[in-house]
Amino acid sequence: MKKLILAIATISLVISCGKSKKNENTATEETTKEQVVNVYTHRHYEPDQNIFKMFEDKTGIKVKVINASADELIQKMKMEGKQSPADVLITVDAGRLSRAKDEGLLQSIESEVLEKNIPAHLQDVDNQWFGLTKRARIIAYAKDRVKPEDLSSYEALVDEKWKGKILVRSSANIYNQSLMASIIANDGEEAAKTWAEGIVANMARSPKGSDRDQVKAVVAGEGDIAIVNSYYIGKMLNSPDAEEVKTAQQIGLFFPNQEDRGTHINVSGAGVAKYAPNKENAIQFIEFLIGKEAQQVFTEANYEYPVLESVEPVKDIQAWGDFKEDTLGLNKLGENNKKAVLIFDAAGWK
């Protein structure tokens, strides 16, 4: 009995704590009209927290964050409708941004800063979303077994000579879906299907694990080449685990399709929510994210390519050299996403 009372006391305590906290919040909001920007983000990177802090220090606008996958955030915003507290939506791929746009969750904004500084193919035609950072989907190869001259394009990977040599993660992964979407856009659906089947036939093993795991598997000799995102190699080279650093050092980086359209890139980007209660703050926030300071942090801490051309990529990724990027409008990635998944399933790409 005593324990029951104790338990009830605990709940009421916790709930009253929650309530009093809420009261405090509303109280302060009423008295000082605290400026806030509510951010729904799929970027779960620690350096982002530092960028948000820099923004708070600079502007006095408080950044409130909800972290979840972009899909879940989009569902949430859809349901919240006009009452949604979201001001800014940040995703790690362009496909999700263009889907949010199609669902009517974003609004067009006017910002000279964004317009001027972000290359045209990295932002939405209607100014509903803007790229913040770039990542390239590259081919990582075992330096001791593969000559870079043997590599050329994504399409060439279906060649017989790579049978049992290719490592790539599951098709549930958005970066693979976007790559496929870009191949559909560039080569057409039929060719994309043949390509998927060819890759499946050449796989060293059934897809599993993360991009880092594919790189490790290459070094372990399970296969010779892996399709992975560029920044994971940067992270591995700077890993606190000495073994991981050693592993990454045995890997060469190849940017495919340099002879034609360029290497497939994707962006992590942001848009202002349709019903943003703090629209001005939201614009200011996104402008800050493509400012010099923030872009510097993105590339230094996360090994991503900055979208701001005046910011140099961090040393590790400069060492990989410049590359030609596919300037396909990133809206296409969203449009073709579903087709991409269907093709993956039909080709048996797990």
């Binding site: 709930i15 009452q83 050693k246």
Partner: protein, 554 residues
């Protein structure tokens, strides 16, 4: 009643309605109301079923469904076997024998529950992969060619079993400790050997308790997303996420959920059916504890290893891997914020555990007091939430609560009050969601202890004119206390680990450790995820030790 049942067919509709009117009482109504409240999210998802599946349903049937069914069946089967072996054997040995470190191992055996299974999955992958500890060891020994690949279906079954077997261990041990003594003595007097006593007597009697634990394990297995995705195994749950988010078809996801629910429902019916076959009558809680035997010689070491193995695999190894990662990443990840987040997680988990257990108690007892016989079965609908992926429940909760919020905003707006969202984005929605999701976790231990209470005591109390509620607090509650507190702790641990639901429904500026761990892990920063994971483990360890004290107390 039995006779009435036999004549059932003879009743006309009219008499049936009459009977219904006679049998219905306020408890039936309350029960129905609560079941409705808890089932609301599931109902909203169910309504979606009538909209038909999305256009890719045919595509899924053609290419994926067989794979989902086959893999899920495989996991159910292999995990059942592993979990029963690990859980029952260790429960029996620690209850029956006294050996080195028994007291410590009793609670160490529950600890694997404190680690989210996807974290165990990451830890094992890290342990065995290229450049991992095991790999380095093999290299030292000159066995480079020996690399154990754990990232496959069998590996997934192993990881899930090793992190979930304590559900079976806890319920089996509770039975052995509380019920076994008289029976053991009787069996001993009749000169029956140790092995025969176990297989012929204890195991069949413990079956309901064991199966109750097993059903929880299997629901968790079917619900796992993180580990299955990482290990590249397609299951129903990964399929639900894929069709919802990659194929953009919520209706198709709902269809897959519905299939999964049928699967779970079959498991629940199976459990009910097999418990029904064994009617307990010798069910008074035993006050005298088991007299433990002291094994000798080789037997001593055999028992020690059988009990130690699950602790080693389920706790020591993964935690060692996490600690190693934590040490090499501590400087970049750790700050004081973690203490704050730990406290928040702790408070949220305790509060939602108490709320959930309250609902479970209310459901079990209200339906007991209700004279309507079918109500008990209806009340079981409330536990279905456990079978549904957290993300799906979150959506099921958002639909009705947002409607309510909008309605409130309108009404309050008339009075010139701008209220904003009252339920969504607050702790209320989160608590509600946890109650829906984890009711089964609370329901089963309470229900199985309540089953053992000899009804004659509360019944005589009622005959003497004491009301239902008073009887409950004075008589039933003290008798089922152990079950209730086990329930609180089990829900607590589950909430500590819960992820998708928390991600979607959590208020701004409240973080939980699981969310923090996921943020890292989802971006392949598995090493960095180790520190929040360790915090989850240590926060969950405190109540686990408490749970153990509860279970072994007389």
């Amino acid at each position: 009643m039995q006779q009435a049942g036999n004549n059932n067919k003879a009743f006309s509709l009219k008499t049936r309605i009459k009977r219904l009117k006679r049998d219905i009482n306020k408890w039936s109504v309350f029960t129905l109301a609560i079941v409705f409240f808890l089932a609301l999210p599931i109902i909203f998802i169910g309504v979606e079923l009538f909209a038909g599946p999305g256009e890719t349903w045919g595509h899924i049937v053609d290419y994926l469904l067989l794979d989902y069914i086959w893999n899920s069946l495989y996991l159910v089967l292999v995990c059942s076997i592993l979990v029963l072996l690990l859980g029952v054997s260790s429960a029996w040995f620690v209850s029956r024998y006294d050996f080195l470190f028994r007291k410590q191992m009793e609670w160490l055996l529950i600890l694997p529950l404190a680690i989210p299974s996807y974290i165990v999955g990451y830890a094992y992958a890290g342990f065995f992969d290229y450049g991992g500890s095991m790999d380095l060891l093999f290299r030292q020994l000159g066995l480079e060619f020996m690399r154990i690949d754990i990232m496959n279906r069998a590996g997934l079954a192993f990881v899930l079993s090793i992190s979930l077997f304590p559900y079976v261990y806890v319920s089996a041990r509770a039975f052995f400790l509380n019920q076994a003594n008289n029976l053991l003595e009787a069996s001993k007097m009749l000169g029956v050997g140790e092995l025969k006593t176990f297989f012929k007597l204890m195991l069949p009697l413990a079956r309901p308790a064991i199966v109750a634990g097993l059903v929880l394990v299997l629901m968790e297995v079917l619900n796992d997303y993180g580990a299955a995705k990482y290990y590249g195994v397609n299951t129903f749950t990964t399929g639900i996420f894929r069709s919802w988010f990659s194929l953009e078809e919520p209706q198709t996801a709902v269809y897959l959920s519905a299939l999964l629910i049928c699967f779970i429902f079959a498991l629940i019916l199976f459990e009910k059916w097999q418990v029904r076959k064994i009617k307990f009558t010798s069910s008074k809680t035993n006050s005298n504890q088991i007299q433990r035997k002291r094994p000798k010689g080789a037997m001593k070491w055999l028992i020690f290893s059988v009990v130690f193995l699950p602790i080693l695999l389920g706790f020591i190894l993964p935690v060692a891997q996490l600690i190693y990662w934590a040490v090499i990443t501590a400087s970049t990840v750790f700050d004081m914020e973690f203490i704050m987040i730990s406290l928040q997680s702790f408070a949220i988990a305790i509060a939602s555990a108490v709320i959930t257990v309250f609902f479970a108690l209310v459901l079990i007892y209200f339906s007991k007091w209700s004279t309507l016989t079918t109500i008990k079965n209806i009340s079981r609908v409330g536990v279905l939430g456990y079978a549904i992926p957290g993300a799906v429940i979150a959506i099921g909760i958002m639909i009705p609560t947002l409607a309510l919020d909008k309605w409130l905003i309108n009404i309050l707006g008339n009075f010139g009050i701008d209220s904003g969202l009252i339920i969504n984005g607050t702790l209320l929605a989160l608590f509600y969601a946890y109650a829906v999701r984890f009711l089964a976790v609370a329901y089963n231990p309470i229900d199985s202890t309540a089953l053992k209470v000899d009804n004659s005591i509360p019944d005589s109390s009622k005959v003497l004119g004491v009301g239902n509620l008073k009887t409950f607090f004075k008589i039933d509650f003290p008798l089922i206390k152990t079950g209730v507190f086990s329930a609180v702790i089990l829900v607590f641990i589950d909430v500590m680990k819960e992820l998708p639901l928390t991600l979607i429904l959590k208020p701004y500026h409240i973080d939980t450790l699981a969310v923090k761990a996921f943020e890292y892990a989802s971006d392949e920063m598995v090493m960095e995820a180790s520190i929040p994971s360790l915090f989850i483990i240590f926060t969950a360890m405190i109540p686990v030790i408490f749970l153990n004290k509860l279970l072994i107390k007389k």
